[in-house]
């Protein structure tokens, strides 16, 4: 049942129906052309979620199944700040578009492909690239990562594979930051298992808030540990009444919202031009300050 569901998800773009009173009982799925409705039958219980709680490495996933919310910018800047703080850090570019790799000027090419990634071990270690910044390594994306789901499907324990593979790097890094592709497929479920923390950027607009609720619903349905989820606002334009209202609305219903708001800023858009993290090319900009403050908050949560 579960695998079938996952397959269905792969080919659909997901939107959610949201009822503020309770998170709703179903997810409305919209096909690219036609609308269909799928009701999730009670799924099997999800695993415990973590690779190994005893291990010092912390895996932080920057995730949302909605695209264009600032995931990659967040992952890149946080990874940079984590490494700057003195921690050995790895950023994994899991998005086949390879934007994080691009920001670090590394060719989005993972020699062993999706299959090699899931095999882990030597394949993984051979593919790691040192970035221009001390203590920060990158696992570059590969176009074949678009097939991660198909590859996962053929494996044993398809939902915990990524956690196991990353676990082999636990002695080498203090933080592993995952830049995730915008989907809610079986690959995403691997992320839910592997990550110790899920950072979810929300643009304070109706649709984005709605899709965040869908994510919470999905966690509830699949019995993932929703306490891993920490939301923060991204691309905030505080002049806009809608943004202010949306933020107030979310905060009234969801506790784990970080205080830092990442503004909608030209500096962040210019990352693509500079191909550097914002604090590296514009350390005194408000955007850099916002990411620094976000990292401080995240670090505090991790350490308590």
């Amino acid at each position: 049942m579960l695998r079938r569901t996952a397959k269905v998800f792969e080919t659909f773009e997901v939107y959610g129906g949201w009822q503020p009173s309770c998170y709703g009982m179903f997810i409305e799925q919209k096909h690219i052309c036609n609308t269909t409705l799928i009701i999730l039958a009670s799924p099997p219980r999800a695993g415990t979620g973590r690779v190994d709680k005893e291990e010092p490495v912390k895996i932080i996933a920057v995730y949302h199944f909605k695209g264009g919310v600032g995931k990659t910018a967040t992952a890149v800047n946080l990874a940079y700040l984590a490494a700057q703080s003195g921690a050995r850090t790895l950023i994994c570019d899991l998005d086949p578009q390879g934007s994080a790799s691009f920001y670090f000027r590394v060719k989005a090419e993972f020699v062993a492909g999706a299959k090699g990634l899931l095999k882990g071990g030597g394949n993984l270690e051979k593919s790691l690239k040192g970035t221009d910044y001390q203590r920060l390594d990158l696992l570059p994306a590969d176009f074949s990562f678009r097939n991660l789901d198909r590859k996962l499907d053929g494996l044993d324990s398809p939902k915990t594979r990524l956690g196991k593979v990353l676990g082999s790097l636990r002695d080498e890094y203090e933080y592993i930051i995952l830049d995730c592709p915008p989907n809610i497929t079986i690959a995403a479920e691997n992320v839910f298992h592997a990550a110790d923390f899920l950072l979810v950027p929300i643009i304070p607009t109706t649709l984005a808030v709605r899709s965040f609720a869908q994510l919470l619903l999905f966690f509830k349905k699949k019995r993932y540990d929703h306490k891993k989820i920490f939301a923060f606002y991204s691309m905030v334009e505080s002049r806009k009444l809608l943004h202010r209202e949306s933020m107030a609305f979310v905060e009234s219903r969801f506790k784990r919202v970080l205080h830092t708001r990442i503004p909608y800023a030209a500096e962040i858009e210019r990352m693509g031009m500079h191909r550097q993290p914002v604090p590296a090319f514009s350390p005194n900009s408000p955007a850099a300050a916002a990411y620094r403050s976000l990292w401080e908050e995240v670090e505090k949560i991790i350490k308590t």
Partner: protein, 525 residues
């Protein structure tokens, strides 16, 4: 993988020309020049260097790193200043790793390195850094005003860009740069005035089997004299307890050599110096005893039941006061005319050419012959003394065996260079097992006696004194239990030492050839 490689520059290194050629071959980006300062530490006997490690203090951080690359620390801790002892470090990995290596030895400042680093980023077509090259101009300074300048080139490959690093390595090789084999302590030898590894508690005396024994004995004794001299300053300055310990070991070895290498030196000199070294040994007996108690303070505390733990503090306070007095006495003794005279005469004797004396009949005997005969005789003496010991034997017999073992051990160490290293090591290891057992037994015996002798001092005082007396009583009891345990382990350990294999090996290495045994005992050795 991301290990940095240090290159020595060719003699005729032209920086401008080198950079020009480099820039023609690779896209580069220059970084701002960085200044860097670090202080390097090790113990007097190079414990870290011998383990292939560096300890350096930089920007309030103490780092333990591999000898070849100070940039890849194994562990670090934050301290404003490097403490003298491992136990004074903040709790953590660095302390845990350092403690078993340096134990009670003090960390001494070796030298300071002040560097200017000019870093170049080597880029690819996307302007991504693929490797770093850094020219380091280091100014090394030691305790005196000595300075030494040394320039090296570092290549830091970046993970995942191994091919580019390889290409740079080839470029550097073509420019005459060679990967540097020496470590910073070696480079700094001109300013520290110490070659790494120049002092070790292990005795290494290169001898020839055909060399006359008189000459070989003087060589051994000269090494021991230099060990005494090397430790004098540390004793005077009271840096750590092991300077005195090593000094005493050198004195004991000297006495043992004088006593055991019979007929090698003229009788008159032998007797005179035996007396002198016996005096030198006794000088520091009490100081060493106090050192041992204080080194084991924590273990004593742990032997006591919790209620009595505070009770032992007055005893240790008293020992600390006593130690201070004894230390001053010893420091004075090392400056005394008598001490200076003894060492001066001894040195003159050791450096004088061998003279033919009727009272030194063995001076000309080949060293190999003398060594074999002495060692084999001593080995048989150990076997004889050990076999006589049963469960009912008095403690004094174990003490006597311990002394025999010590003599045998010293002989093995003096002459080890004459024999195959592996076999000597095997014998020393076996012997050490036996010595450890006997030594522990003796320690416990002496400690019990000494503890009881201190009771008097505290029994007179009321209140706290009583608690101290009870604590001492409790300790004596705990020591008794361990003593019995040690004694009960003795027969097994001795049997192992006296095993057929060991006997065979001793015979093979040291026993004189058969006809020599039949001949009349040669010149009494």
């Amino acid at each position: 993988m991301t290990q940095m490689t240090r290159y020595n520059l060719p003699d005729a290194f032209d920086k401008a020309d080198f950079l020009k050629q480099l820039a023609e071959s690779y896209p580069l980006q220059r970084e701002r020049e960085v200044r860097d300062q670090a202080v390097f530490y090790d113990t007097f006997d190079w414990r870290l260097y011998e383990k292939g490690l560096l300890l350096l203090h930089q920007d309030e951080t103490l780092a333990l790193a591999p000898l070849k690359d100070e940039h890849l620390p194994l562990c670090v801790c934050t301290v404003a200043e490097t403490p003298l002892f491992a136990e004074d470090l903040p709790e953590g990995e660095l302390r845990n790793r350092l403690t078993p290596i340096i134990e009670m030895r003090a960390l001494l400042k070796l030298f300071e390195k002040r560097s200017r680093l000019r870093t170049l980023r080597v880029l690819d077509e996307a302007q991504k850094t693929v490797a770093y090259l850094a020219l380091e101009t280091a100014l090394l300074s030691g305790a005196g005003n000595k300075r030494h300048s040394h320039t090296v080139l570092w290549l830091r490959p970046l993970r995942g860009y191994e091919a580019q690093a390889e290409s740079l390595h080839n470029f550097l090789s073509e420019s005459g740069c060679r990967p540097a084999g020496e470590s910073w302590p070696e480079i700094a030898a001109p300013v520290t005035e110490r070659a790494p590894g120049d002092y070790s508690t292990k005795l290494r005396v290169p001898l020839e089997a055909q060399q006359p024994s008189g000459e070989a004995a003087k060589t051994i004794l000269r090494v021991l004299l230099s060990a005494m001299r090397a430790n004098e300053e540390g004793i005077r300055k009271d840096i750590d307890t092991e300077f005195l310990h090593d000094f005493r070991v050198a004195v004991r070895r000297t006495r043992s050599a004088l006593g055991q290498l019979k007929g090698v030196f003229p009788v008159a000199e032998t007797q005179r110096f035996r007396k002198d070294f016996s005096y030198l040994g006794k000088l520091s007996n009490r100081l060493r005893d106090l050192d041992v108690y204080l080194l084991h303070e924590k273990e004593y505390q742990n032997l006591l039941p919790e209620a009595l733990r505070g009770g032992i503090d007055p005893l240790f306070d008293y020992l600390r006061v006593e130690r201070r007095k004894e230390q001053r006495k010893m420091a004075r003794a090392l400056r005394s005319p008598r001490y200076l005279q003894i060492l001066q005469d001894w040195e003159a004797f050791l450096n004088a050419p061998a003279e033919n004396s009727p009272s030194a009949p063995n001076a000309g005997v080949p060293t190999g012959e003398l060594a074999g005969a002495r060692i084999y005789k001593r080995f048989r003496a150990v076997l004889k003394a050990g076999r006589g010991i049963s469960g009912a034997s008095p403690d004094s017999e174990l003490h006597a065996l311990r002394l025999e073992c010590k003599k045998l051990r010293y002989l093995l160490e003096f002459f080890s260079s004459l024999y195959p290293e592996q076999e000597i090591q095997r014998l020393v290891k076996q012997l050490k097992g036996l010595q450890d057992n006997l030594g522990r037994f003796q320690d416990l015996f002496v400690q019990q006696g000494t503890l009881l002798s201190w009771v008097e001092r505290f029994s007179a005082a009321a209140g706290e004194g009583e608690k101290t007396v009870i604590a001492i009583g409790s300790l004596v009891g705990s020591l008794e239990a361990e003593k019995r345990q040690v004694r009960s382990a003795f027969p097994g350990i001795f049997a192992k030492f006296a095993s057929g294999g060991n006997k065979k090996l001793f015979k093979k290495l040291f026993a004189p050839p058969e006809p020599a045994v039949a001949a009349p005992d040669r010149k009494g050795f």
